[in-house]
Amino acid sequence: MSASPEAAGTIYDIGYRHYDGPRLGRRGAVMAVVGAGLRAIFGLGRSGRSKVIPWGTLILATMPAIVAVAIRVLAGDLIELYSYDSYLWQIGALLPIFVAAQAPELVVNDIRHRVLPLYFSRPMSRFDYVAAKLGALSLALLSLTLLPVLVLFTGRVLAGDDVVGAISNEAGTLPAIVGTGLIHALVLASLGLAICSLAARRAYAAGAVLAVFLIGSVVGEILAEAGGFADVAPFLNPLAIMDGTRQWLFGGSVAESPVRAADVPLALYGLATLAVTLGAWAVLAFRYRRISV
């Protein structure tokens, strides 16, 4: 730097600007984290490789609905491929894959690279941070748990000759569709984030999520067919717990689900869902309270 003659003690004006725009506050900070989380989950603004799993599972999850609608348009009411009740159970294998691949993106590296202080130096509490991440993952999961069923619904309404009549026929199923989608998304997001928040690296987080769902479903499936354990079996598999809750709230049983083999009050599934969700939130609260920034 060339020295120019200045009086001693002068503070140079090197051009820092003030920010005079609107300050968005806590709400804005939370929405920004939700937005960034959604972009991270779907790989927007990232390389093609990080889009493969989220968009691949989304397409695979929606494909059966599209095929079912196409068949309905072409062949009429002859074949009933998927019902609203069983759709999520049928695509169930995709949900853990999506969560295992994308939930670690949200939380693991923030802890690993110790950037949480940067979040908390904004008008954002620890609770806000966790809530924003949960919100982002739940919203993203709705694209798997709600969108395909809505596609199926829309297709059924539009495929008929009498659209108005079809709407009034099918509208009664909407609360069940939306409710089921919301429950699945929120519970899966809570469970996934809780597991991921404990892992040191993204790959381990993915492995842990997969392990929980794989082992739960395998053991649940085996015990469902073993004489004395049919009543316990569904509670080992998070997806079966949610299926039971769906059946409790909205009715309609799924043939392949271990819920059908079990003989317990359906309200127990609701309780189990609540327990899983609250347990996951407790883990998150414990984990993020303990992290020092």
Binding site: A100, R202, A203, G207, I215, I222, E225, G227
Partner: protein, 241 residues
């Protein structure tokens, strides 16, 4: 030098919390078998349920999960941390590094998986031959899996994620669907071995024993050859990556 190589690999693989977690997974298999047996099942049912437990949980989940973590980190963690250069700078042939690390990873996987399968198999039902058959299958499957995952860890820096995706998507879903894909699945190879050693109750998956062993050996050799070739072409540069 081989002893030193074995000891650093063992230390890297075992000195972590995750080994405890992997051992807990094996313990879970045993716990399920114990709980099931406490329900006093009939003999015929217990053979069938235990077989499915060993096949679907032991060979289907426990073995690949342990193998993918152990197999990708035996060499992969040295690549990640950059400590591989200190190994490569030693006057040891690179194929020897690959082979020693593979054997250690294989043995660690076996120790974490096979005892759990034997114990769960013996507790779940009466016939020890079933348990031994699945243990033999897990030992052979472990070699094939660890060789594959070690080669994978030399091909990409995201070997664990890709390996997990392979385990879930290919081994878990696709390989069971068609008879053609069954021929190129480690899980099906292992199950064929289990059936041939496991006695009467071991079921049938539809792969001939001889074919499964030949295919498994071919995959293993190819993976080892690929891993050696990759490590031999690693060039030491000035800075560690």
């Amino acid at each position: 030098m081989t002893v030193a190589l074995v000891s650093i690999t063992l230390r890297a693989l075992l000195n972590r919390r995750r080994t405890l977690l992997l051992a807990l997974l094996g313990a879970l298999l045993v716990v399920v078998a114990v709980i099931y047996r406490l329900g006093n099942p009939t003999a015929a049912e217990s053979v069938e349920v235990t077989r499915r437990l060993l096949a679907n949980f032991g060979i289907g989940v426990l073995l690949p999960l342990v193998a993918v973590i152990v197999g990708t980190s035996a060499l992969g963690s040295e690549l990640d941390d950059g400590t591989i250069v200190y190994l490569l700078a030693k006057p040891v042939a690179r194929w020897r590094i690959v082979l020693v690390k593979l054997v250690v990873a294989w043995l660690v996987t076996c120790v974490l998986v096979a005892p759990a399968i034997v114990i769960a198999g013996v507790i779940g039902q009466e016939d020890p031959q079933l348990a031994i058959g699945y243990a033999v299958a897990s030992i052979l499957g472990a070699l094939e899996y660890t060789a594959m995952f070690m080669a994978l860890s030399l091909l990409t820096s995201r070997a664990l994620i890709i390996g997990l995706a392979y385990v879930v998507v290919w081994e878990g879903v696709v390989a069971g669907l068609f008879s053609g894909t069954r021929a190129v699945s480690v899980r099906q190879h292992a199950l064929a071995v289990a059936e041939s050693f496991g006695g009467a109750g071991a079921g049938d998956a539809g792969l001939a024993f001889g074919f499964a062993v030949a295919a498994g050996a071919a995959v293993t050799m190819a993976a080892i050859a690929l891993a050696i070739r990759r490590l031999e072409t690693v060039e030491l540069r000035g800075e560690t990556t």
